[in-house]
């Protein structure tokens, strides 16, 4: 195996486009290398590229560098306050040691249904900023494809009216793999829910939005009954197309419970 330690984004990307494998936090890749070997692959370590570890607030966005750790995000008071779903998702992953290593960029790059930050980021309408063959680009998180690209940051729109929350279900409280996770983001304007984004992970291959449930909430004033209705709608509309040791019926129950309780929690806060 070949190991490269990149000092700039450009250097890293030049390796990635030729099939190099990005080494970010290492929590997924390193065990794989240790267990199976890297077999001639080139590993490019992006841990020393200086500008990937910044958290910046711009006029329109919160910009989190790809190499910012989940532990950092979970502990960041401003993120906890304004982007609750993201902070909660970050703190629900793995365990303290894993969170100190795992990065947001790495978690997004996983892109599979094991990524717990994905539902939170999709609910918060985040974008991925990346460096690819066409230089620096930005794309909505749902459309992003990791292959050949180097994630440089995640950008989350700033909106003081949005409240968000997240919930994960796993068989174990620490180091648990999520069975189902849900995130909700509500935009509250003049006492009404002007818009909402509800997302779920664990029923299909990708994190999906629950648009029927979202439309149920749109324009409504908050009541607990509304949470029940949205949760019921969410449980019905979610498409299930993956195998899991827990039944689809059970995972829909978790989805329903998760949406309802997270909505309530968000509104209580």
């Amino acid at each position: 195996m070949k190991y490269l330690r990149a000092s700039t984004i450009e250097e890293a990307q030049s390796v990635i486009k030729d099939g190099g494998v990005v080494l970010a936090g290492g929590t997924v890749l390193v065990p794989k290398i240790a267990h199976e070997g890297a077999f001639g692959k080139t590993i490019v370590d992006i841990g020393r590229i200086p500008d990937l570890t910044e958290v910046l607030t711009t006029a329109s966005h919160l910009r989190i560098g790809a190499m910012v750790t989940l532990a950092h995000i979970a502990a960041d008071v401003a993120i906890q306050r304004d982007y609750g779903a993201l902070a909660q998702a970050a703190s629900a992953i793995g365990n303290p040691q894993v969170r100190r290593a795992a990065t947001l960029g790495g978690n997004v790059a996983l892109g599979t249904h094991t990524s717990d930050t994905m539902p939170a980021l999709l609910a918060l309408d985040a974008e991925v900023e990346y460096f690819g063959s066409a230089g620096m680009q930005t794309r909505p998180i749902a459309d992003f494809v990791a292959a050949g690209n180097l994630i440089t940051a995640i950008r989350v729109p700033r909106d003081g009216d949005v409240r968000s929350g997240f919930r994960k279900f796993a068989w174990r409280r620490a180091s648990g793999i999520s069975v189902v996770s849900v995130a909700v983001a509500l935009r509250i304007k003049d006492g009404l829910i002007s818009s909402s984004r509800l997302t779920v992970n664990g029923l299909s291959k990708h994190v999906v939005r629950l648009q029927k449930a979202e439309s149920l909430l749109a324009g409504k004033a908050w009541t607990e009954k509304l949470a029940d209705d949205a949760a019921n709608a969410a449980a019905v509309e979610a498409v299930s197309d993956i195998e899991h040791s827990a039944s689809e019926h059970y995972r829909r129950r978790l989805l329903k419970f998760g949406v309802r309780e997270t909505l309530k929690e968000v509104m209580r806060a």
Partner: protein
Amino acid sequence: MKAVDNDVAEVRLTVNGQAVEASVSPAATLQSCLHHKLGFREVRHGCGEGVCGACTVLIDGEPRASCLMLALQAEGRNIVTSDGLENQDAPDSERAALLREFFVERQAFQCGYCSTGILVSAAHHIASEGQQTTEGLRSALSGHLCRCTGYQQIVEATNAAAKGEAVSATNGSRPDLREKMSGEARYPTDRQIENPLIGRILWSEHPSARIRAIDTSEARRVPGVVAVLTHEDVPGRNLTGAVVFRKDQPLLATDQVRTMADAVALVAARDEESAHEAIRRIRVTYEPLPHVTDMYEAIHEDAPEIGSTGNIIAQFVEMHGDVDEAFRTADVVIEGDYATTLNDHATMELEGGTGWLEGETLMLTVPHQTPDTGQRGVATMLGISPDKVRIIAPRIGGSFGKYAAATIEGYLGLLVYKTRQPVRLVLGREEMLRRRSKRHPSAGHYRLGMRRDGTFVALEAEVLTDAGAYVWLTPAVAAVIPAEATGAYNIPNVRARARGVLTNNLITAPMRGYGSQQISFGIESIVERAAHETGIDPAELRQRNFKKVRTDGQGQPISNSPLFLDQTLNRVHERLGARPTPQDGWLHGRGFATVHAKYGYPYGMVDRFAVKVSIDSDGRFAVESDISDSGTAVPTEMTRLAAQDLGLAELPQYINNRAAIDDPSGVEFSSGRRASRFRAGLFRFIEYGQTNAASVLLNFTARMETRQLANLTRRISRPVNFFTAAANKFKNRLFPYNRDSFQPRFGSSRALSMCSLAVLDATGRLKKQALDTAARKLGVSADELTVVSEGVRRTKDDALALSWAQLAQDSGGTLSVMGEAHNPNGSLFDPATGNQRGPIDYMDASHGCDLAVNPETGEVKILKYAACHDVGYALNPVALRGQIIGGTAMGIGQALLEGLDVREGKIFNSGLHDYHVPTALEMPLDVEVELLESGSGMGFKGLKGIGESAAVVAPIAIVNALYDAIGVQVKRLPARPDEIVEMIAERGSDGQK
């Protein structure tokens, strides 16, 4: 850009304040670099995926898993290992030192394998957060797995250190922990020797298949490969595993595989990658055969035959009274099916070790609870003399019964023997889950007959237990099941049968409370069901039927041996107090369970404990025995007892004496001479005759009709008992310190009860010898002298006559004595009934808990938990509490978390991320432990075995509480949240409550 394109790269780090440099493979993890290249043995390896935390170090001041980082990634970083915590800047270093003291004082660890990682996280937590809530601390430690302790004493010790409490002056009761908390301690998988070859195993691809061809030619051509071995390379007999009852497992598969646990080939290579590659390039041509993985299918006549004599390999029955008549006249009859599943022992240390040649002697550092069988197995396989093989493992990172039988010593031994080079063979966590031994699963049908007032009158139990593809120790496990069928209860009419069955599943090894766990779950479940169906309070129903006195194999009471089962349950009941106020939307439940489970099961064998106590010419004391340390504190307790009895201020040194293991006659151990070949051979011959007779009898009776079997055992009971006793007596007389070679030398619940007696026997003899020596030297009568802590005093003027050092000098440099203790030599059968005589004594305990269930998600929260154990006598109450809480944690895992995904003989779990050993967050905040000291045990001051009981009783108490909460009984463990939700739905549909 820094680029490394070589096999080896240099990496510079600062470790514990020192600049260091190492050459590593680019694929090497930081953990492997620190441990193997740089020799920081305190940085341990448990999972390789950031779940267990054994490899935790500070990287630039933050606890991180060093297995999740490549060594090259760490270039230039500042690393602090647990051994370096005290070298940091004050005041953090002082806190770390205090923390270490508290871990010793509170006996926070047992096997200690996880301790170095936990030290790092706990010290960091105190330094960064100061005094915090217990919940905060549990979260901070949730990236660590400890299989022994249940975390509670770790959390308590950390809290005490955070508060800056004073360490108690009476500390030091677990001095072994100091070593375990540092790189000084050597565990089998630790670095033993520099740059060994790397061994790997090619496992079977099918649960059952014929092997058409094995082609290793390509694998041999991989650069860096030193050896590729198959069955053709086995120089002696191609056998491994537990060979007590049957020699049925080949070390390397020849023309057939019978389980996914079969090894087909071995590889040794210069590095990990070449070893991997070679394994990948071995071509095995299989022809899959029909397999059977269900026990009920396996006993069917048409089932594919796995062993040489059918799939039923052992049958044991227990019968007394008139069962049919009792059921006919019973007012209520309750029936149910209950099953226990396989569990992984999930020892924190991986299985394996290093082997090398010292001259012609093969040295193996592998975990093995019965090193004698291990050594002889390797010798037979290599065709060499048993004294040319040594298994060295004074301590191991957990066993829980797993290493009562193993095969790893054979794989490693063959690799070393063939390559003539040091080899390190350590299995990965995935291999351990998918290929290695599991707890015996069981399935049973139970019928309980009772009178209207709740008095039990009859029990019928029909149990199968799954051995997997090879017999191993399954007969010993199956034997326990009928012997303990009535559990804690007095039931006059019993018919119980257990059969061990071969399937194409994985191999099975004993696990904490073997046999007892399986049958206790069944009997306690049927009792609980009886309570629910008759409306009698479950605690009251138990109280009404508890055994009051111990009974022998005929169901007859033994005089002067009262039991205190009722008190254990009363105490738990009282501790739980009023039921907690229900939380909105959650279902609440309370459950109890009581067990009466064996410790010390002689099975007619000689189970002797020999201890040597010695003083050298400087007056230093040592306690030597062949008992190794799996974390149960037995070795330390032996030194404490010796110190206590002799009034010593300092604990004697403990020496794990290999001579006692290598030489079964004990002659070398006791007097420095080795037994003659003839004597050693004679001992083996008798032992062989006994085990052979046992296996013939097992084979002969395995498929007999129950009544016929009982008749046979009754008829042969007298001669069998006579010959067993005669043989044992002969062995005892000829070989003064012998024991049968498959008696575990690590822990086991009986160990302390026996070792305590052996130590006191030795100290007693030492005092006598000191008096005699002094009397001779001084020319006075021994009556005029007294033994005191400094040596021997003249009674009349209280002047010190001879110090211990002088006594040793006068005895030729060392004064040493042997002490011994026997488990009562078992007589196998009761002549009146033909039933087994059973164990020598029982562990009695009750557990109870309050829990809440979220009916929508199935989440379970244990709100309150209490345990009361009759420990006989509490020699070390803190250690006992640790064992009980640790067993409870294992029970919580069994009841709620630890599911193995097994389909068609294959296991699909791949690591500790999906085999859910409980973390600190899974534990109730406080497991309340009460020790009852009845003085009724077999050991010193009547102390009893304890180690296994909590793990047996805890899961049952939890599922009984679940039953109470949701109104549906759990019939198979573990009860995962989705299954709980389903059970609640089931109740809704058929209205059961």
